[in-house]
């Protein structure tokens, strides 16, 4: 097995409640992967186990060929950026970033800390106390603190969720940049498919502690295999096909104004480039989008529509 990080039949439990049953996946060196799934599906739990903050019930975790399943967190050479950032409130920004280096009695601490702060754009904040910083700045301190010790694997728990749209874009670029410059293997957790698509090379989609599907970001986006995956990636219309299988369409794949079916417009949401209509029909609720420039439909209006089979994705499983 040539994976840099490999998780094999990992079972994680809180007391008698199993949160993650027999999870297996592998990550190549230098890859940036996303653990994607709804809240409560076991993403944070999985990260904590990889970092060594939680002892697995069974299964193994390997990093760079070494079995670390029972190893103390301090010996695993992983970094973890907590969702809450978990900065040391009694220390300055500089001291926070220097913490791991001091523990290792590393040489050149001053230069390495300043270089770390530089890479996240916080050089001028070295002497500030961390509770005085904004959430975005705290997160970057946390990132620098994990990176300066040069971990083999960097884990990030919901790194984009608490940021506003502009900061989110900025942080995405910071993370991509770090991946390019340091080549560190990164696993980040998110419940938002758009974050996963924007950042990850590969996506592992989870549900109830199990992997539903994993693959390249584009593959996941265009070819979900199950109802759950399709739903998660925005295929909002899932209907049985003529042969009994399931077909899925994005709202943009539905043709409105013409076609063999008829329904009544129940509501509309404006999304910039598109207007998305909710239509009540004999097939159930249909969501269809029309370019914003085209004539709009009114609420209660009857509308004809088509579900082009050529545009549908065929799902393998329910």
């Amino acid at each position: 097995m040539s994976d840099f990080v490999s998780v094999d039949k990992l079972t994680l439990a809180y007391g008698d409640t199993v949160a993650v049953p027999e999870l297996s996946f592998g990550i190549g060196k230098g890859e940036l992967i996303a653990l994607l799934g709804p809240s409560g599906c076991g993403k944070t739990t999985t990260m904590r186990a990889i970092a060594g903050l939680m002892t697995p019930k069974s299964g193994t975790i390997r990093i760079d060929g070494r079995d670390v399943t029972r190893l103390a967190p301090s010996l695993r050479e992983v970094g973890l950026v907590f969702q809450s950032y978990a900065l040391f409130p009694h220390l300055t920004v500089f001291e926070n970033v220097a913490f791991g280096l001091k523990m290792r009695k590393a040489p050149n601490i001053r230069e390495r800390v300043m270089a770390g702060l530089e890479s996240v754009g916080l050089r001028d904040f070295a002497n500030r106390l961390t509770p005085d910083l904004s959430g975005g700045q705290q997160q970057r301190v946390s990132l620098a603190r994990s990176l300066v010790v040069e971990p083999k694997v960097l884990l990030l728990d919901e790194p984009l969720s608490n940021l506003d749209a502009r900061l989110r874009l900025e942080m995405q670029m910071v993370l991509k940049d770090i991946q390019k410059k340091t080549g560190v293997t990164m696993i980040f957790v998110t419940h938002d498919q758009s974050e996963a698509l924007a950042l990850a090379d590969r996506i592992v989609l989870m549900k109830d502690g199990r992997i539903v599907q994993s693959g390249l970001a584009e593959e996941m986006y265009s070819a979900p295999r199950s109802r759950f995956a399709a739903d998660f990636f925005g295929f909002e219309n899932i209907l049985p096909g003529r042969d009994g299988g399931l077909l899925a369409w994005r709202p943009t794949a539905i043709r409105l104004g013409d076609g063999p079916h008829e329904g009544t417009i129940r509501g509309m949401s404006f999304g910039g480039d598109y207007r998305t209509y909710v239509i009540d029909s004999a097939l159930g609720e249909i969501k269809g989008s029309v370019r914003a420039g085209l004539p709009a439909f009114g609420e209660g209006e009857k509308v004809r529509f088509d579900l082009p089979e050529g545009e549908a994705v065929r799902l393998e499983a329910a």
Partner: protein, 260 residues
């Protein structure tokens, strides 16, 4: 004024009268130039304040009380901080029982604790009075230590310790490098609270006195039984000023009331 604010004003006024009134009476009584404890004072002088320092037994019992307050409180903290940490961080079975055991000195009347220690520890085993006093004071302060430290631990997120573990600390290392610096204020507050509580303690110490071994408050009681002069009032004033001074400084530099 609305009736409710009249009532509030009255209650606050009465509270102040009953809290501060006795203090003023004692100060004035201690400042008397006469030879009897009396109010209003018979002329004004500082002679009883000076007399306090010449009474041999006061000097000895002051040091005993000081010793008990300092080392009893330190002992309570050495036991109490780890106990508070365990209660706050680990899902230990019987945490409720530990909490109750640790708070029992708050519930059981001190006089019973003192009597029990005398009857079942000092008399049958030959334990010294001093050792029994020490034990009683440490036990008395323990609940305060646990409480105050627990509440400052609750303000420190667990993941901060986990971050330290990942960055290379051992469990013990993370306690000293991360937990301790963040609860230092709480520990200091617990120390001050424990010190003042121990120093002013009467009921627990009442039965635990022997030849030459008495805490200051008990010594004052004993002194009053034989000598009814105003030096006890003067000493009471000095002690009150000391307690108020300590708490004032603690509030000023620590924000003491945050912790208590």
């Amino acid at each position: 004024m609305k009736p409710s604010s009249t009532a509030t004003g009255t209650i606050i006024g009465l509270t102040l009268v009953f809290l501060i009134g006795p203090f003023i009476v004692i100060i004035l009584a201690a400042l008397t130039a006469g030879n009897n404890l009396a109010f209003p004072p018979d002329g004004l002088s500082l002679k009883w304040f000076i007399k306090v320092f010449t009474v041999e037994s006061f000097r000895i019992s002051f040091f005993i009380s000081m010793f008990l307050a300092v080392f009893g409180t330190l002992t309570a903290l050495i036991v109490g901080v780890p106990a508070a940490y365990a209660i706050a961080r680990y899902d230990i079975p019987g945490a409720g029982a530990i909490q109750l055991a640790v708070s029992s000195p708050l519930i059981v009347p001190g006089i019973i604790v003192g009597l029990a220690l005398l009857r079942y520890l000092v008399i049958p085993t030959g334990f010294t009075i001093m050792a029994a006093l020490f034990l009683a004071h440490a036990a008395l302060i323990l609940p305060y230590a646990v409480r105050v430290v627990t509440s400052s631990l609750q303000n420190l997120r667990v993941d901060v310790e986990e971050a330290a573990l990942i960055l290379g600390c051992s469990r013990l290392g993370s306690f000293f490098r991360v937990v301790f610096p963040n609860i230092r204020g709480g520990i200091l507050a617990a120390f001050i609270l424990g010190f003042v509580t121990s120093f002013n303690q009467v009921p627990v110490s009442l039965f635990l006195s022997g030849p030459g071994v008495r805490t200051l408050p008990i010594d004052m009681l004993a002194y009053m039984e034989t000598t009814y002069d105003p030096s006890v009032a003067a000493l009471a004033c000095l002690l009150a000023i000391m307690s108020v001074g300590i708490v004032f400084l603690a509030e000023r530099f620590l924000g003491f009331s945050r912790y208590v």
